[in-house]
C-alpha cells in the first residue's frame, strides 16, 4: 500500500481525527493482530514489531506534533535525540516536537531500554515513521491543492508550495488517518542538509533538573499519597519467623503494617514517619537465616568448579598447525554493583481494579507483565508508566520497587503508595553484575602474527529481568511465592556472559567457548555492557601481552590483525588524538595503555588511550589523561554521544580500580558508600577527550555501553607499561598494585 491514502479510502471512514488511537492498552493488542501488508521485507527498527505509523507520531488538530517511543529516558539523552530525529524528518523546529516515553498505556512496546538499542531500534523507527508521515502530509496537500507533490516542500509545520500556497500540518492531519502500516524504506533527509540532527541540541530535561523542577519519580506527590518502607530479609532466603508489630502500629502517622509471607512493609502518612516505623519494625522482626555465600577471596575457584553448560560460539580452522610462542593468561572480575545514586523508588495506585505504577524500570512492558502475574490481574488492568529515576546502568532495584509499590497499593486500594528503598537495601538487594573468569591462550608465528586463539569465559547469565513474576523480590518473598525463573544464556550475536567474547580480530584459527553457569551464588542480572566489559578487558589485556611477546607496538599490533576499516579508523583516530608514538619517552612511574572494541561486534566502535601515573609507595593509580574515539554511525546528538562515552570511561575506571561487592559467609556486607567505595573527584582525570568519527548516512549504532570494556583494558595496559607488572584480577586496587610492584 502506498504511503498516501486515496480519497476513496478516506471517504470510506478511516478519517476523523488522525492518530487518535485508543488510549486503552487494547489498542496495541489490536494492532499486533493485523497482518503486515508490505511484501515481507523487514520494517526498519522497531517498526517491525509496531508497524503502524500512528504508534510513533501524532499530529493534533492544532498542529502539535508528539513522538512516541517505547524507550525510556535514563539520563542518556534519548528523549532529546528522538525529538531531533522526528523534527528533522518533519522539517520542524526542534522545539515543536514533544515526546511521550515508555508507557504501556500510550507507547509501542520496545522491550527494555537496554543493550544500546535505543537509537538503532527506536531512533530508526521514529526516523522512518516521521519521513513517511511527511510524505503522507505532502501527498495530502498535493491532493487538496491539485498540484504535483514534487512541487511542494515542508517548512515550519506546514506543507508549502509556490505562490504562497500553505497548508498547516494540523489542517492536513484533520482529514487523514495514520492507521497506516509503514513501508520498508523511506525517503530520508540527506545528512548534508541536516538542521537538527547531528547537532548538539541541549537536552530537554536538564533545565528542570537544575532548577528544582519535578523531574524524577522520587518527586511525585499524588493527593492522599502514603509513604512506604520495606523491611527486607537480612540475607538471601531468610524466612520471617516472628513479628510483633503492635508497637509500630501505634507510632505516629502509621497507617498499616503489611506482612505477606516474608514480605514486610509499613505505610505512613509522612515520609520520615515511615522511615522511623521501618526501623522499629525491623527490630520487631525475627528471621531464620539460611544463606551460605562463597568465599570472596576464592571466587575464581568457586566459579570454575560450578557445573557448566558449554556453548562453543566460535570454531574457526583456517590455518595450519600452531607453531611459535604461546602465551596464556587467566583474568577475573568480582561482582559489581550498579550503585545508582538514587535508591529505587516507585509510586502505585490501585483504583477501581486498575493498577497504575510509575516506575523507572528499563522495561515497562515486561515489568507490567510480571506485576500482573504476581497480582493475578489481567494484563490490560495494569499500566506501567516510565518516570525517570537516577541512572540505573542496567537492571537495578527499579523493577522490584515497582512490584513492592504495586503489592502495597493492592493492600490499600484508592490510595497512592510511594515506596522508597533505603541506600543499604539498594546495595544489598540489587542484582549485581556477575563475577566472571576468563582464560585466554594464543600462539604467535615467527612474524609476530597471531595464528591460534583460544578463549573461554565462565559466567552466570547476565539477565534475570522480568520476565516472569518470579524475577521480582516481592513475588519471591510473598506467601504465595513465585520461584525465580531458570536462568538462560542470552543467545549470540548479542550474548550475555559471552557478549564480545568473539574478538573482532581476524585470526585464522579461533575457538571461543562460553561456559554458562546456571548456579547463582549471589543475585545477578544485567549491568551496563553485560559480559562485554570483562571480555573486552580480558581480550584487550591479552592483546597487549601478545604484543609484548611479539615486541610490537600495541596499536600497530591491533591494526595488523583487523580487517574492518571502521575499526581501523577508530583506532587510528584515538591514537593520533592521543599522540601515541612508539618508544616515546615516558617519565618513571608513568605509562600509556590502549584498547579497542566494537560493542557486541555490532554496535558502536570505541578505542581508548590512557595515561596513568602510579605512586610506587602506595600503589595508587591516577589517570591524568584519557583520549577516546568513537564511531557510532549517523550521529544524532554529538554532545549526547560525548556525555555517554565520558561517563562510560569514568564509570569503568571506577569499576576497574576500586569496586567489588563485599560479602561474608551469610550476608552482603557492602551496603553503603563506605563499604562500596566508588570514584571521587580526587581521582578524576585532568582531561577526557572524545573524538566522534563522522559517518553521515550510516545506520545508527548504539554507543551507551561501548566505552566500558576498552577503558578497563587500557588502564591495565598502562599500569603494565608504567610498572612492568601485569594485573589480571579486577579491581586493580592500590593494594594489589603495590603488592605487584613490591618495595
Amino acid at each position: 500500500m502506498s504511503p498516501s491514502l486515496s480519497r476513496r479510502a478516506v471517504l470510506q471512514g478511516a478519517g476523523g481525527l488522525v492518530v487518535s488511537f485508543a488510549l486503552s492498552p487494547a489498542g496495541f493488542a489490536q494492532q499486533a493482530a493485523e497482518t503486515p501488508q508490505h511484501d515481507g521485507a523487514k520494517l526498519p527498527g522497531s517498526l517491525a514489531e509496531s508497524p503502524f505509523l500512528e504508534s510513533w507520531i501524532k499530529v493534533g488538530a492544532d498542529g502539535a506534533v508528539t513522538a512516541f517511543t517505547g524507550k525510556a529516558e535514563l539520563g542518556q539523552g534519548i528523549a532529546t535525540a528522538l525529538c531531533q530525529i522526528a523534527a528533522e524528518e518533519l522539517g520542524l523546529p526542534f522545539a515543536a516536537v514533544a515526546i511521550v516515553t515508555a508507557d504501556t498505556g500510550l507507547t509501542p512496546n520496545e522491550g527494555y531500554t537496554a543493550g544500546s538499542h535505543s537509537m538503532q531500534d527506536s531512533g530508526t523507527a521514529i526516523r522512518n515513521a516521521a519521513a513517511q508521515l511527511r510524505e503522507i502530509l505532502v501527498g495530502e496537500a498535493a491532493r487538496r491543492l491539485g498540484v504535483p507533490a514534487d512541487g511542494l516542500w515542508v517548512e515550519a509545520g506546514a506543507v508549502a508550495g509556490p505562490d504562497g500556497a500553505r497548508l498547516s500540518y494540523g489542517d492536513l492531519a484533520g482529514g487523514l488517518s495514520l492507521h497506516v502500516q509503514a513501508q520498508p524504506t523511506s525517503r530520508l533527509t540527506d545528512p548534508g542538509r541536516f538542521r537538527v540532527m547531528n547537532r548538539p541540541v541541549p537536552r530537554i530535561d536538564i533545565p528542570a533538573k537544575v532548577t528544582g523542577g519535578a523531574a524524577y519519580v522520587q518527586d511525585m506527590r499524588l493527593p492522599g499519597m502514603l509513604h512506604a518502607r520495606i523491611v527486607r530479609p537480612p540475607s538471601y532466603g531468610a524466612r520471617l519467623t516472628a513479628l510483633d508489630s503492635s508497637a509500630v502500629e501505634a507510632m505516629a502517622g502509621v497507617v498499616k503494617v503489611v506482612r505477606d509471607g516474608d514480605f514486610l512493609a509499613v505505610l505512613a502518612e509522612q515520609e520520615f514517619q515511615a522511615v522511623k516505623a521501618m526501623r522499629v519494625l525491623a527490630m520487631a522482626a525475627a528471621w531464620q537465616e539460611d544463606a551460605k555465600l562463597p568465599d570472596p577471596a576464592r571466587m575464581s575457584e568457586t566459579l570454575l568448579a560450578l557445573p557448566a553448560q558449554d556453548f562453543t560460539i566460535l570454531d574457526r580452522h583456517e590455518g595450519g598447525a600452531a607453531t611459535g610462542t604461546t602465551v596464556a593468561a587467566t583474568y577475573s572480575r568480582p561482582y559489581l554493583s550498579h550503585g545508582s545514586i538514587g535508591p529505587s523508588c516507585a509510586v502505585a495506585l490501585d483504583q477501581d481494579g486498575a493498577m497504575t505504577v510509575w516506575t523507572h524500570t528499563q522495561g515497562v512492558y515486561p515489568d507490567r507483565k510480571a506485576i500482573a502475574e504476581m497480582l493475578g490481574r489481567p494484563l490490560e488492568r495494569v499500566r506501567c508508566i516510565h518516570t525517570p529515576g537516577s541512572g540505573c546502568y542496567g537492571h537495578n532495584g527499579a523493577d522490584d520497587a515497582a512490584a513492592d509499590a504495586a503489592l502495597l497499593a493492592a493492600a490499600l486500594p484508592g490510595r497512592p503508595v510511594r515506596v522508597q528503598w533505603m541506600r543499604e537495601q539498594e546495595h544489598a538487594w540489587e542484582p549485581y553484575g556477575p563475577a566472571m573468569v576468563t582464560k585466554a591462550r594464543a600462539t604467535l608465528d615467527a612474524t609476530g602474527r597471531i595464528t591460534d586463539w583460544d578463549y573461554g569465559v565462565w559466567s552466570n547469565t547476565h539477565s534475570m529481568r522480568p520476565g516472569p513474576a518470579g524475577s521480582l523480590l516481592a513475588a519471591q518473598h510473598m506467601a504465595r511465592a513465585f520461584a525465580p525463573p531458570e536462568p538462560k544464556p542470552l543467545p549470540q550475536p548479542e550474548g550475555g556472559g559471552d557478549r564480545n567474547g568473539i574478538p573482532l580480530y581476524a585470526f585464522p584459527n579461533a575457538r571461543v567457548v562460553h561456559h554458562f553457569l546456571p548456579d547463582m551464588p549471589l543475585r545477578i542480572s544485567a549491568l551496563r555492557s553485560l559480559g562485554a566489559q570483562m571480555n573486552v578487558f580480558s581480550i584487550e589485556s591479552f592483546m597487549d601481552e601478545l604484543a609484548l611477546a611479539a615486541d610490537a607496538d600495541p596499536v600497530e599490533f591491533r591494526l595488523k590483525h583487523l580487517q574492518d576499516p571502521r575499526a581501523q579508523d577508530t583506532i587510528i583516530a584515538a591514537a593520533q588524538a592521543f599522540g601515541w608514538e612508539r618508544g616515546s619517552p615516558v617519565e618513571p612511574d608513568r605509562g600509556r595503555g590502549f584498547a579497542f572494541a566494537r560493542y557486541k561486534n555490532l554496535a558502536a566502535y570505541c578505542a581508548v588511550a590512557v595515561e596513568v601515573a602510579v605512586t610506587r609507595e602506595t600503589g595508587e593509580v591516577r589517570i591524568p589523561r584519557v583520549v577516546a574515539a568513537v564511531d557510532t554511525g549517523q550521529v544524532v546528538n554529538p554532545d549526547g554521544v560525548r556525555n555517554q562515552i565520558e561517563g562510560a570511561i569514568l564509570q569503568s575506571m571506577s569499576w576497574c580500580l576500586y569496586e567489588s561487592v563485599g560479602f561474608d559467609a551469610g550476608r552482603i556486607t557492602s551496603v553503603d558508600w563506605s563499604t562500596y567505595p566508588i570514584l571521587r573527584f580526587s581521582a578524576v582525570p585532568d582531561s577526557v577527550e572524545v573524538r566522534i568519527i563522522d559517518r553521515p548516512g550510516l545506520p545508527f549504532l548504539g554507543c551507551g555501553e561501548t566505552g566500558q570494556g576498552p577503558t578497563g583494558a587500557a588502564i591495565a595496559n598502562a599500569i603494565a607499561d608504567a610498572t612492568g607488572q601485569r594485573l589480571r584480577d579486577l579491581p586493580m586496587t592500590a593494594a594489589k598494585v603495590k603488592a605487584a610492584i613490591g618495595v
Binding site: P207, V210, T211, Q270, G342, I678
Partner: protein, 161 residues
C-alpha cells in the same frame, strides 16, 4: 511548630524537631532539588546551604535550624530565570541522569560565595564529598569553573571595576 527560613521565606513546619531537613524540604515544602541518596552523609545528593555553608540535609534535623537561613537550589533561580550556577550547568550540559547535580551545585555555590577566585584544585577538593555514578565529573568541574567566571565578572560589573 518550628520556624524555618528557606529561600528567603519563613515557614511554620509541623514536622517533629528531630525530622531531617531533607524530608521537610521535600514533604511539607514540596521542594524537589535536594534528594535522598543515602541518608548517611556519604554522597552529597541532599546538600543545601545553611547560612552560606554546605550541609547534608539528610542528617541535619530541623531543631538545629531555627534562626538560620536555608537555601536550596530553588533559591538560586528558576527555569525561566536561572541563576549563574544554573545557567553554567545548562550551558555545559553538565548532567546525565542529573540526580547528583543539585547537591553539587549547592556545594559549589557555597564555595564560590566564600572564595570567588577558587582554583580548579580547590573546586575539586571541595566536591570530594559528592558522588556521581554516571561519570559527569569533567562537565561538573567545567560548569563550576564557568559559574565562577560568570559570578566574578558580574561582581566586577556591579562595582564598576
Amino acid at each position: 511548630m518550628i520556624e524555618l527560613k528557606v529561600n528567603g521565606r519563613t515557614h511554620s513546619v509541623a514536622a517533629d524537631p528531630d525530622t531531617p531537613l531533607l524530608y521537610v524540604l521535600r514533604g511539607e515544602l514540596q521542594l524537589n532539588a535536594a534528594k535522598y541518596g543515602c541518608g548517611l552523609g556519604q554522597c552529597g545528593a541532599c546538600t543545601v546551604t545553611v547560612d552560606g555553608e554546605a550541609v547534608f540535609s539528610c542528617v541535619t534535623p530541623i531543631l538545629l535550624l531555627e534562626g538560620k537561613e536555608v537555601t536550596t537550589l530553588e533559591g538560586l533561580g528558576t527555569a525561566e530565570a536561572p541563576g549563574p550556577m544554573q545557567r553554567a550547568f545548562i550551558e555545559e550540559q553538565a548532567a546525565q541522569c542529573g540526580y547528583c547535580i543539585a547537591g553539587m551545585m549547592m556545594r559549589a555555590q557555597a564555595l564560590l560565595q566564600k572564595t570567588p577566585g577558587a582554583s580548579d584544585a580547590e573546586i575539586r577538593r571541595e566536591l570530594e564529598p559528592h558522588l556521581c555514578r554516571c561519570g559527569t565529573h569533567m562537565r561538573i568541574l567545567r560548569a563550576v569553573r564557568r559559574a565562577a567566571t560568570a559570578m566574578q565578572s558580574a561582581a566586577a560589573g556591579e562595582t564598576g571595576r
